[in-house]
Amino acid sequence: MREDDSQPAPSHPEGGLTPLRSRFADDPEMRELVLWFLGDLERRVGAIRSALDAHDASRLRMLAHQLSGSAQGYGFEEIGEAARRVESEIRFLGLHRKAQPGDDDKLHGDGLHDDGLQNEVQISTLAERTEDLISVCSRAIEGKRDAA
């Protein structure tokens, strides 16, 4: 089933990013953990970007999956939502199949290419959703700089 994806993209006033704060930013028990999460997020955004560029659906799915399960726990519902939209798009495209013994390592990436030829619209939807995810992550990272 295709999920509703009509949620508007976050606004970028004057071209800049609106910083995003964790719901737990003021919780002393969580402060350190949220900072660690944001550090991980900086590296993760880079990894998501390269997975997208490399058309590596399997890696993209894994990176998004980990965020979709835990981002809310760190007080970033928007990141979890955006990650879920990426995940569901990959599942919809049928690119989430697990690697089997004997599979070529790049099977998932190739799958993305192959499907991409037939489903340009869907691939562009995935790219769009991934860009949204990167954007919302970047806003959170921006929020960390503000806090520092």
Partner: protein, 313 residues
């Protein structure tokens, strides 16, 4: 019913152990932070294969299992846990982003105790975790009950045989002393004949409380009929003989409410690991203690003896 300390210590004292299997460190850190105030000991694993190994080693009460793992997935991990008798009883809670009903059905059919959707609310996770821990500890208690003697609430013979073997191996490995006391109520048959079986049962139950009222690490068992055994890890034969002597005095001094003039006694045989060959088994230790008990009986009963030789009264 009076439960011996040795029967409760295995599950009563231990902090509940939880193993989280999830491929993301993001999840592990979050759980560690959020569960630090809960009374649980949290362990984490980032793959199914490692998780299975840790489950065997740690014997956790509860496993929090993510379905979508790299390598073998959560379904397969659950299946393997359930196929192995050593891990079958662990309560498994599935955590998954999947909202598909079929996935939930499959998890529960495979033997998971609960299912939590990601992203989850921490209060909900804690509540479900506590509930799973409760269920698991009750199950563990039930399976231990099956190894208890119904009348005296001491461990039964089956448990004794298995436990003595374990203790012998362990004491040898660690180089620790290990003693065994065998004891038998004197002329018990005539107690039953004269006063009836209900009173005989009362005598057995009271004797059991004397045998089990010491340290929690002592393992008191009903060996059969009116014969009992106490495994004493870390205790030398000299100390075990003193302990047996205390038990002997305590039993002899007891005033029986319904038969004030009656004096009942018991005989004790004591042996320890130094008395059997370095390659000797738990059965050899048992034979030495039995020989000592025979010595106590033969030399007049109501006494403690070592190695078939009665101690000076």
């Amino acid at each position: 019913m009076n439960t011996p300390a040795s029967a409760t210590s295995d599950y009563g004292v231990r902090t509940p152990r939880v193993l989280s299997i999830d491929d993301s460190e993001l999840m592990h850190r979050l759980l560690r932070a959020r569960l630090q105030l809960e009374q649980v000991e949290l362990h984490s694993s980032t793959s199914g294969e490692e998780g299975l190994r840790m489950a065997l080693e740690l014997k956790p009460d509860v496993i929090l299992l993510d379905i979508e793992l790299e390598g073998i997935d959560g379904f397969e991990v659950l299946q393997r846990l359930k196929e192995d008798a050593r891990t079958r009883d662990i309560a498994v809670i599935f955590i998954s982003a999947s909202t598909e009903t079929m996935d939930r059905v499959r998890c529960l059919d495979l033997g998971a105790i609960d299912f939590i959707s990601k992203p989850f609310d921490m209060a909900e996770l804690k509540a479900r975790l506590r509930s799973a821990i409760r269920v698991h500890q009750l199950l563990r208690m039930l399976s231990q009950r099956a190894q208890l003697d119904g009348l005296t609430a001491l461990w039964n013979r089956a448990f004794f045989d298995q436990r003595l073997a374990t203790e012998v191996t362990q004491s040898r490995r660690l180089g620790h002393p290990l003693s065994l006391i065998l004891t038998d109520i004197d002329h018990f048959k005539s107690v039953n004949d004269r006063f009836g079986h209900p009173f005989g049962d009362e005598v057995l139950a009271y004797f059991a409380t004397i045998l089990s009222s010491r340290r929690a690490t002592d393992i008191a068992c009903r060996y059969g009929g009116e014969e009992f055994a106490i495994i004493l890890p870390g205790v030398t034969v000299a100390n075990a003989a003193e302990i047996a002597e205390e038990m002997r005095k305590g039993f002899e001094a007891h005033a029986w409410r319904r038969h004030p003039d009656l004096v009942l006694t018991a005989s004790f045989g004591v042996a320890d690991l130094t008395m059997v060959a370095p390659t000797g088994t738990s059965q050899d230790l048992l034979a030495r203690a039995d020989l000592a008990l025979y010595g106590a009986k033969r030399s007049g009963r109501n006494r403690v003896s070592l190695e078939g030789v009665p101690l000076a009264a």
